[in-house]
């Protein structure tokens, strides 16, 4: 009897093995490797962030996020490693995220001292510059994936600082080109009070001049329109927004500068005159949006959602792109010293694909990444700038933002 038992279990085992072989044949698919193989070129990429107090999104459709940015960096590290394992390379993400009350700079200083000098920086301008100006950061490569500040590309530019996030001037120009194509050339500008609002306002003025539009009036909005949690707040907003927009000279669009997200969304459908809203809300100029699927964008959206269980935001995208750009440079050159990366990403050999249909490169004069800009409505993609007909002798994308002749950046600092 025991003999039969044994035989029976052996047969069962055989059947089991046969069954699993049929269902999951050959080798199971390895995830991206998490550890380097011996002899691999190991590249550490430092992701630096801080839990800055951020305004809650006005719309309940947008959830407050605690992992914005870093999720994009994590996805790109996996992708770098899928490529890396084929060429004896490995990438590690070192995540340093300061609390709202902490100073992030000493934390980065310690990492720099430990030799982690390839940095994806999800930092506000003051922290970003403090990091870039550390003596330890000399020769480092720092990617700004957060701030749109024009000053960082102009008088505050740094030789060790590169910008993945589009700046305000690029965004305003992207919208201005579209408005010009539409022949909507009379703009009524409404702006808020935060520093970002003022910066975007300056970019809108600049774009109007650059593309021959007329700003018929500028008006500031200084009240708190109401928070996302106000029950029946709509009555107040419904009467406030017509008041705010009443009595302006004839205009085609409202160009809103509300980077602080205090009221911009409330302008839609509530203006005194029936006019579209563009700018920081309404028709927006962004690096990424969930409604975008062209140029294989679907693939990135899918991969991100599978990992993060939510939509990919613009900051997730720029963080992803920063880590990918570093991965691309290391894979192509088989070198990972910051000095080598710096010279390679500024050379004509470098380009990185970012699902925009063209290779993405850096401007030599201010280290801003050239990129097509998505123009999106709240629910769908409307267009992509540069628009047809806006020509440039080198890169069409240089029709947006600061071109070489107008740069005030001096990179020998």
């Amino acid at each position: 009897m025991p003999g039969i038992m044994k035989l029976g279990s052996a047969a069962a085992l055989l059947v089991f093995v046969g069954w699993t072989a049929a269902v999951r044949p050959a080798a199971a698919i390895p995830e991206a490797p998490t550890e380097a193989s011996p002899g691999a070129l190991v590249t550490k990429i430092l992701y630096v962030g801080k839990r800055y107090p951020e305004p809650l999104p006005l719309s309940l459709l947008d959830k407050p996020l605690t992992d914005e940015g870093v999720q994009g960096a994590r996805l790109a590290i996996k992708e770098n490693n899928m490529t890396g394992r084929l060429v004896e390379q490995h990438f590690d993400l070192v995540e340093v995220i300061a609390k709202a009350t902490e100073d992030v700079v000493p934390k980065v200083k310690a990492e720099l001292a430990a030799g982690n000098r390839l940095i994806v920086a999800d930092l506000e301008p003051s922290d970003l510059l403090a990091v870039a100006d550390l003596p330890e950061a000399k020769g480092a490569v720092i990617f700004n994936v957060r701030s749109s500040s024009d000053e960082l590309r102009q008088q505050d530019c740094r030789i060790n600082l590169f910008h993945i996030m589009p700046n305000w001037a690029m965004r305003a120009d992207a919208i201005a080109q579209y408005l010009s194509w539409k022949k909507w050339r009379r703009w009524f500008v409404v702006y808020g009070t935060t520093p970002g609002d003022k910066e975007y306002l300056a970019a809108i003025r600049r774009a109007a001049q650059k593309f021959g539009a007329k700003i018929v009036e500028e008006r500031s909005y200084e009240f708190d329109a109401g928070s996302r949690r106000t029950d029946s707040g709509h009555q107040q907003i419904q009467s406030q927004m017509p008041l705010l927009t009443q009595g302006a000279p004839d205009y085609d669009v409202i160009f809103v500068s509300d980077a602080g997200e205090a009221f911009g969304d409330y302008l839609l459908f509530r203006t005194y005159e029936p006019r579209p809203v563009v700018g920081s809300q309404g028709l927006q100029a962004v690096a990424w949006h969930r409604s975008f699927e062209q140029y294989a964008g679907t693939q990135l959206q899918n991969r991100f959602e599978k990992q993060a269980k939510r939509f990919m935001t613009e900051r997730d995208y720029t963080s992803w792109l920063g880590v990918r750009a570093l991965g691309e440079a290391v894979t192509r050159t088989a070198k990972n010293a910051p000095e080598e990366i710096n010279s390679y990403i500024l050379s004509k050999d470098f380009e990185v694909a970012g699902f925009k249909g063209v290779g993405l490169t850096f401007r030599s004069w201010d280290h801003q990444m050239r990129q097509p800009i998505l123009l999106t409505g709240p629910r769908t993609l409307v267009s992509i700038s540069p628009q047809e007909g806006f020509l440039h002798q080198k890169f069409l994308t240089d029709t947006m933002g600061f071109d070489e002749p107008e740069t005030t950046c001096r990179l020998n600092k």
């Binding site: 050959a26 080798a27 192509r332 990185v352 694909a353 249909g357 063209v358 290779g359």
Partner: protein, 324 residues
């Protein structure tokens, strides 16, 4: 009356003596956005049937006997198998996630599929649909080409920018060749000695020697009046004699004509908007080009290199194949 009839008969005779092949080919075009495949008779250029497929149909390939057509239905994670006589979907095969392009080996026993979302290649037994292997490659695999001698398969991965060489016996990746950014398609020359790999964003075609696994030539394209970044090579096809290659250039709205022995670009043929994939007629006299953004197909005469006609298909036409 007599004379008139005779003249008419002559006219008919002249028409039927036209260069058109007497026996019609059947052209299949996958419409990514419509979830259909348009079937066109090559003689009449009329739509014979519109086959409803799984979601997001893109790559297509025939069995060597042309009896079965395999269609990648990306968003449904399967292959739809069409009986090419009845034009009905007779079965579906589990392809692994998000199949994009595929190739059938010359013996018709195996199907090699690029799983774009997951970064691997699935190998199926054609008859049973059994999964023989799942082979990890780079990020976003797309191009698939089984070598004519059935010894190995070339897969390209778009984000990794590599051509991966897979041993068909061991299912191991034996070499990774770095090419320019976003390689889309791998195509063997007619003599099987070289493989051409197009790089969409890089704007080039790398010609790789499978023996040395080295790039022997890199082709670039230049079109007066067309910006460099709009020149995005995707589909590659060789004429029957193997002497001429056609390379579809995407948003440049043109097909490049390349002299294969010298690698010289001879001319550019203006077609519809964003051509990606192409197919030759069975007799090799016509090139059919699927134009993604104009929702149509351009017919190019191979001898004169002139676009002759445009036929409407579905929305976002992607792949195109021809059955004799």
């Amino acid at each position: 009356m007599m004379r008139f009839t005779a003249a008419a008969a002559v006219a008919v005779a002249v028409v039927s003596a036209d260069a058109r092949p007497s026996r019609a080919d059947t052209i299949f075009v996958s419409n990514e956005k419509d979830n259909t495949v348009t079937v066109i008779d090559s003689n009449t250029l009329k739509v014979v049937k519109t086959i409803e497929t799984g979601a997001r149909p893109r790559g297509m390939a025939f069995s060597p006997d042309f009896k079965e057509l395999f269609i990648c239905a990306g968003d449904d994670n399967r292959l739809d198998v069409v009986d090419t006589e009845t034009l009905e979907i007779t079965r579906t095969l589990e392809s692994g996630p998000d199949p994009e392009l595929l190739d059938v080996d010359p013996t018709g026993q195996r199907i090699y599929i690029a799983n774009e979302d997951e970064g691997y290649v699935t190998v199926l037994e054609r008859e049973s649909g059994k999964v023989l292997a799942e082979i990890p490659v780079g990020v976003e695999p797309e191009g698939m080409a089984v070598s004519p001698d059935n010894k190995f398969t070339v897969a390209t991965s778009e984000q990794t920018s590599m051509a991966h060489f897979i041993d068909n016996e061991t299912f191991k990746v034996t070499a990774n060749v770095l090419v320019d950014t976003r390689p889309r398609v791998a195509e063997f020359t007619r003599d099987g000695k070289l493989v051409w790999v197009s790089a969409e964003i890089g704007g080039t075609v790398a010609v790789i020697d499978p023996v040395t696994r080295k790039i022997v030539k890199k082709l670039a394209f230049e079109i007066a009046g067309v910006r460099k970044e709009l020149i995005q090579p995707v589909g590659v096809r060789f004429t029957k004699d193997g002497k001429t290659a056609f390379v579809a250039l995407g948003p440049a709205n043109r097909v490049a004509v390349v002299d294969v022995p010298t690698y010289a670009v001879k001319s550019y043929i203006l077609v519809g908007q964003r051509p990606w994939h192409m197919a030759l007629s069975a007799d090799g006299t016509k090139l059919y080009v699927a134009n993604g953004l104009t929702n149509d197909m351009t017919i190019v005469d191979v001898a004169t290199l002139k676009p002759e006609k445009t036929v409407a298909v579905g929305r976002l036409p992607w792949g195109i194949v021809v059955k004799p």
